[in-house]
Amino acid sequence: MEHTLPPLPYAKDALAPHISAETLEFHYGKHHQAYVTNLNNLIKGTEYENLDLEAIIKKAPAGGVFNNAAQIWNHTFFWSSLKPNGGGEPTGALADAIKAKWGSFDDFKKAFSASAAGNFGSGWTWLVKKADGSVDIVNTTGAGCPLTTADKPLLTLDVWEHAYYIDYRNRRPDFIATFLASLANWEFAAKNFA
């Protein structure tokens, strides 16, 4: 099947000034699109040709097919993890699970920030639901994606430099703080947790 670039759930300038329209022009329009184009080229005539995206991610060994498929999925999940006027705190069962794990939402934010800042090189920082129903923070490298594990992803932050270099240069910690303060989509995370 031909994979396609899913639409952004908001306009390219909707996250400004925290993430600029210019960043989304490249990040969505070029990087995300390139993973789609690459995957379609790579799977032609292979055993992956008729699989949906999640099936490819779960089946493909480390390499080009996995990297491009997982990066399509990760980016789509990332766009939904952001929203204009986001940030704040979750409520309900997800808030309770976060408090059970870290003690307070502030302590969760510290743990998430440290994890994202310490994810050396290119990768992703995830809030996940474990098989036992508790929540945790997980770093993945490159295209690493929780779909290959028993964890259910709830929310993610892209910490590849292309996610923030135009707006924040080397200041990844500022990007992380802005994500938590102004962009994180907790309704999306709560829906995934339910």
Partner: protein
């Protein structure tokens, strides 16, 4: 993140005692420092832009130096070792030394193997002969080097190395690893040329177009320095 290594007071005391007794030069305890760029930040324009050079050297490279110094506070033996020697024993140390010691070595190396385009020079006869011997031609070497640079997924480096058998070879490493490191997944050798393909090395000018960066970068390769490093690696 790396857990702090507990201080071993006896090591520190013996180092200090040796210093005070005049047995060890003070320089041996010197911390790592950020080397100045060997040219102006604008000198590699238009192939590598000024803003990138300023941030890459003044922020990214400096952070590796600062973080390595923080590690050396807890692991005093690092301060007495050359940067190359640390790479060669990197498997002994915490991952923060690998990341930041590698980051310091790689960038220190990177600045020296670039030069303004009008001073880039030519490979020495010996290096040219070796390239023809091991790759067929300069064009073929560049092609394979750029393939390594483009297929390194995520952050890392592409390298031209002199192998232990004294042949030239092309390899790539993830993140801030390099061919000097004693790690099982690394093809080891002495680097003579290296290209930083972390996005911070090219994003302000080239954005997603790593291939354009890798192509244009050949204009600012310092062949005099690469040739010098090749000769040194043969010895």
């Amino acid at each position: 993140m790396q857990a702090a290594i507990p201080l071993r007071p006896f090591v520190r005391r013996s180092l200090l005692a040796a210093l005070f007794a005049g047995l060890m030069p003070a320089a041996a305890l010197a911390q790592f420092s950020l080397p100045p760029l060997p040219y102006a930040p604008s000198a590699l324009e238009p192939h590598v832009d000024t803003a990138t050079m300023e941030i890459h050297h003044g922020r990214h490279h400096k952070a590796y130096v600062d973080n390595l110094n923080a590690q050396a506070k807890n692991i005093p033996e690092l301060a007495g070792m050359s940067l190359e020697a640390i790479q060669g024993q990197i498997s002994k140390y915490p991952v923060a030394v690998r990341n930041n010691g590698g980051g310091h070595y790689n960038h220190d190396f990177f600045w020296t193997i670039m030069a303004p385009a009008d001073q880039a020079g030519q490979p020495s006869a010996a290096l040219e002969t070796a390239i023809a011997r091991d790759f067929g031609s300069m064009d073929e070497m560049k092609k394979r080097f750029n393939e390594a640079a483009l297929t390194r997924f995520g952050s890392g480096w592409a390298w031209l190395i002199v192998t232990p058998e004294k042949k030239l070879a092309i390899t790539s490493t993830p993140n801030q690893d390099n061919p000097l490191m004693d790690l099982p997944e690394i093809q080891r050798g002495t680097p003579v040329l290296g290209l930083d393909v972390w996005e911070h090395a090219y994003y302000l000018k080239y954005q997603n177009k790593r291939a354009d960066y890798a192509t244009n970068w050949w204009n600012v390769v310092n062949w005099k320095e690469v040739s010098r490093r090749y000769d040194a690696a043969l010895k």
